[in-house]
């Protein structure tokens, strides 16, 4: 141990001690300088408390549709603020009269922040310009009261794209604690839903501010420092708001959703959902009762049915069953089954009915798709089995969320293993064949059906759908599974016949200007009427768009949804050809 003792270089220890002494001496010198030499100056500064901090709000970026129409913007507004320390209580009656606020309210607001009485307090938001001018004119009388220019978000198209664009709201005290305080101040607004939320940091600018020296009455006399606010970035969406506005007339009676995608780019042209709400109720001051009624609505107005609604798909799922069976080589397009109007596993077992009780007779795959024969697909489902069908459904994107800038629902693809885990019960053969026609436990979102139809229309080389206009980034992606183009061609032919044949279930959607291919679905969802589905692409040759119409409790895909589909394609066609409009 003595060896170590000898080893410690004492010179080094002295050096260290001298270092510590030196830094502490410099502290003492610094303190002496600040407190004793400059003390009187700082004493005055603190007694007068002459420095005021005024935040300059940065305007949030605008959101445009694909044609540059404004979906969200910030309107200039005048807010009335007061600094409690500078305000003299005898002015309360005058202020109360000017603002139309109760005297008690003003007094309460000002006393709320007792410990921070030099921080400006917001008295009234968004006052008319004339009132703002008046207050500025009377500034010498009204000490500590001032007008601050701020912004109020507005959504010109209101409920048309409310779910997509979203809205903003004031951050809560808990959020304030957890967020970076240099970006989000105490009264900051943050995107609460939709694009406003997903792209909040892109849209929001950086607030600026002014450090002012004021005189004893609170009137600014000198600008000590200033930082300009940096406005937020604008964002352009792929949505065509005109097309989406037109959808309000298509879906009049029922709730539902309509989705349209541009197959050449993957950009979503429309994502309409009904019922909707007016997002302005969330941002305009003084509309809180309306806001509460939206949030509490029994119709679930805030739910975006197009992206997040989950429903049984019904017959439109036969497209998946057909693809899976063709790929698994269980059938060929020319495999025929006889439809007597029902299906039985054995002579004594229960009959599963076809929707066409008289029976379709003997038919091949094309005819089965055209007429949406249940019995044909019961047979296919039995040959295929639930495991393989579920596997294909998952590969085609069902059961997991579709990749998009906004959150989307995943849905449910059942199989025997799932049923065992969740229902603690065995999987029955009857469930396999109802699964094959899109019933049983299956749940899908309209967006997932859109993805399916897009894949069929483009031989499986689809874009992942996007909402934000970024032509440079979006690339064609493979479906992730190899499906032969013959399979796609067969399915497309079946969908074409469903519209063009006089016995096709989608014939009501036929348009006179071009060929259209689609498939209907009528999904049993007791209690209540069935849901109506209609999904397809247009035109048949070299398709431009794929679409899905979902009518909640619409009774019949062939009637309710197909008719909406026809109007939708006509509307799209009209907007595309400049001569008509």
């Amino acid at each position: 141990m003595n060896f170590f003792k000898l080893r410690i270089p004492n010179v080094r220890l002295y050096l260290l001690q001298i270092g510590v002494l030196g830094t502490f001496l410099s502290l003492l010198v610094g303190l002496f300088h600040t407190q004793v030499i400059q003390g009187p100056y700082y004493r005055r500064a603190s007694e007068q408390n002459r420095i005021r901090l005024i935040r300059l709000e940065a305007p949030r970026g605008n959101i445009y549709d694909r044609n540059g129409l404004v979906l969200a913007t910030s309107r200039l507004a005048y807010h009335v603020y007061a600094i409690p320390e500078d305000f003299s209580p005898e002015d309360t009656p005058i202020l109360s009269k000017l603002l139309g606020l109760h005297e008690k309210v003003i007094r309460e607001r000002l006393s709320e922040a007792r410990h921070a009485s030099f921080t400006p307090i917001l008295l009234k938001q968004d006052v008319p310009k004339e009132l703002a001018m008046k207050i500025e004119e009377r500034r010498p009388e009204l000490n500590g009261v001032f007008i601050q220019i701020g912004f109020v978000r507005t959504y010109p198209y209101g409920d048309v794209s409310a779910h997509l664009v979203g809205y903003i709201g004031k951050i809560s005290p808990e959020e304030y604690k957890n967020l970076d305080p240099t970006v989000y101040h105490y009264n900051a607004r943050i995107g609460r839903a939709g694009i406003e939320r997903a792209f909040d940091s892109y849209l929001r600018g950086e607030d600026g501010g002014r450090q002012l020296e004021v005189d004893a009455r609170g009137v600014p006399i000198r600008l000590l420092g200033e930082k300009d606010p940096r406005p937020g970035n604008d964002l352009r969406l792929t949505i065509d708001v005109k097309l989406q506005s037109g959808m309000k007339d298509l879906l009049t009676k029922h709730k539902g959703a309509i989705l349209v995608i541009d197959l050449k780019t993957g950009g979503m042209l429309a994502a309409f959902t009904k019922p909707s709400f007016d997002p302005n109720a969330f941002v305009a001051p003084g509309r809180s009762s309306e806001r509460l009624s939206i949030i509490g609505s029994k119709e679930r107005k805030l739910l975006d049915r197009s992206l997040n609604g989950l429903y049984p798909p019904g017959s439109i799922f036969k497209l998946v069953t057909a693809m899976a069976a063709l790929e698994a080589k269980v059938i060929t397009p020319h495999t025929t089954f006889d439809c007597p109007g029902y299906f039985r596993f054995g002579p004594k077992s229960r009959a599963f009915k076809c929707w066409f009780h008289e029976g379709h007779g003997r038919m091949d795959l094309y005819m089965a798709l055209e007429r949406s024969c249940n019995v044909y697909f019961y047979n296919v489902g039995r040959l295929l089995g639930e495991r393989r069908l579920a596997e294909y459904a998952r590969k085609l994107g069902f059961g997991s969320p579709v990749e998009l800038e906004l959150p989307t629902a995943g849905g449910l693809v059942p199989d025997a293993e799932w049923k065992k885990n969740v229902h603690r019960d065995n999987w029955y053969p009857g469930e396999t064949i109802t699964f094959a026609i899109g019933q049983s436990y299956l749940l899908v979102s309209p967006l997932q059906i859109l993805r399916l139809v897009s894949a069929i229309a483009t031989d499986g080389t689809i874009f992942s759908p996007v909402l934000v206009w970024e032509e440079f980034k979006n690339e064609r992606k493979d479906l992730g599974i190899s499906v032969k183009s013959d399979t796609f061609r067969t399915i497309r032919q079946g969908m074409l016949q469903a519209v063009s044949s006089n016995r096709g279930t989608a014939q009501l959607a036929r348009v006179n200007f071009a060929k259209l291919a689609a498939k209907t679905g009528t999904a049993q969802a007791p209690p209540g009427e069935p849901h109506a589905w209609f999904g397809g692409f247009f035109p048949f040759q070299n398709p431009e768009i794929a679409f899905v119409v979902f009518v909640e409790r619409g009774k019949s895909g062939g009637f309710a949804a197909a008719q909406v589909g026809k109007k939708l394609v006509s509307l799209y066609h009209e907007l595309r050809s400049p001569s008509v409009s």
Partner: protein
């Protein structure tokens, strides 16, 4: 048995105890002054922490520093684990992940990492001779200290991360590292500055930029710097008296019960108060050096020097930032700032020192 108690009392380094309790009591009064207008119960909570701290102090002293040094690597591993855990699952406050919540208590693992690193480094260096394989030892010690530093920096907690630097340098220096390695370390540090700059969050970058040019951010960091300077300066020679500090109480200076507690002291007790506080801290550090020179255990000497440098650094940066001598980083003032983790960690290291003092003659 009757004899044992007074002997135990006799072995205590009383000046150390009295001094630190004095600091903590001053802290409690100032925490009260800084927060009574907002109605927080910080002062009474801190009083509880003081009792816990004293308990920890005596327990540590009774157990002896040797057992803690022997378990140093275990502590080290444990705190590294905590730091990693906090990065992934920690509660974030104001955008920084530094806390582990255990019921009503919030633990700040970075405080404990500091202590564990002290112990480990003392252990590690004392077991190696500076005469041979110095390069190897130097590199391994760098990794030993660098790992927790980077983890704390990632939280991000610039202030706590910086404290690792002086304790590392001082311990290496006293251990006998060649000057050329110190120069190398300095150059390495200089060249890694751009890299470190990117690890920092924008608000931390701003604080450092503001240190060099106060006009950059008039509503954020430089506002704080100016207001804290006004608070300290307005205290003048004699101060405004207890509970008389308007600057700090009226919220001009943020974090006034934690990082900016010194501006409350300086505003209320003036230059005289601030002067005595600095002198008392100097006294504390000289006691630590004294204890160090009375022991022959090399591990204990290294430990003591690390503790002294860490405390001196924290005091300097904390007080310096209130008067513009150092950039604003979140470093608490030892024993005075509000915060249970920091107070307990500090009493723990003092307990180690007290036990070094107690066992000084065992050879």
């Amino acid at each position: 048995m009757n004899f044992a108690v007074p002997r135990f009392l006799k072995q205590i380094h009383w000046p150390l105890v009295i001094l630190t309790v004095l600091f903590a009591v001053l802290g409690i009064f100032e925490i009260y002054s800084a927060s009574f207008r907002e109605g927080g119960s910080y002062a009474s909570k801190q009083l509880c922490w003081l009792f816990v701290g004293l308990l920890v102090f005596f327990a540590t002293m009774w157990l002896g520093y040797r057992s803690f040094l022997d378990l140093g690597y275990l502590f080290y591993g444990l705190t590294i684990g905590m730091l990693v855990w906090v990065l992934f699952f920690g509660e974030s406050v104001s955008g920084a992940q530094r806390w582990i919540f255990l019921g009503p208590f919030a633990l700040q693992p970075s405080e404990f990492a500091k202590v564990a690193t002290l112990l480990t480094l003392a252990n590690f260096l004392a077991a190696r001779s500076p005469v041979e394989k110095q390069k190897r030892t130097f590199l391994m010690a760098s990794v030993l200290v660098g790992l927790p530093t980077l983890l704390v920096l990632k939280q991000p907690d610039l202030g706590s991360a910086l404290v690792f630097l002086p304790l590392f340098l001082a311990m290496m220096f006293l251990w006998g590292i060649r000057f050329r390695y110190l120069i190398l370390l300095f150059l390495m540090g200089l060249s890694s500055l751009p890299l470190l700059w990117h690890i920092l969050k924008p608000y931390q970058q701003k604080r450092i930029l503001v240190f060099f040019n106060p006009q950059i951010d008039p509503i954020g960091a430089s506002y704080t710097a100016i207001q804290s300077k006004i608070a300290v300066g307005s205290g003048g020679l004699f101060g405004k008296g207890w509970l008389g500090g308007t600057q700090t109480q009226l919220d001009f200076v943020p974090e006034h019960h934690t990082d900016f507690i010194f501006s409350v002291v300086a505003e209320e007790f003036g230059f005289l108060g601030a002067f005595f506080l600095v002198i008392l801290f100097l006294l504390l550090i000289s006691y630590i050096f004294q204890i160090m020179q009375q022991t022959t255990d090399f591990r204990a000497r290294l430990l003591a020097v690390g503790i002294a440098s860490a405390i001196a650094f924290q005091v300097f940066v904390n007080i310096g930032m209130t008067i513009g001598l150092a950039p604003i980083t979140g470093i608490p003032l030892p024993f005075i700032s509000y915060g249970g983790s920091s107070l307990i960690a500090n009493f723990f290291i003092l307990g180690l020192l007290a036990s070094v003092y107690k066992e000084r003659s065992i050879f």
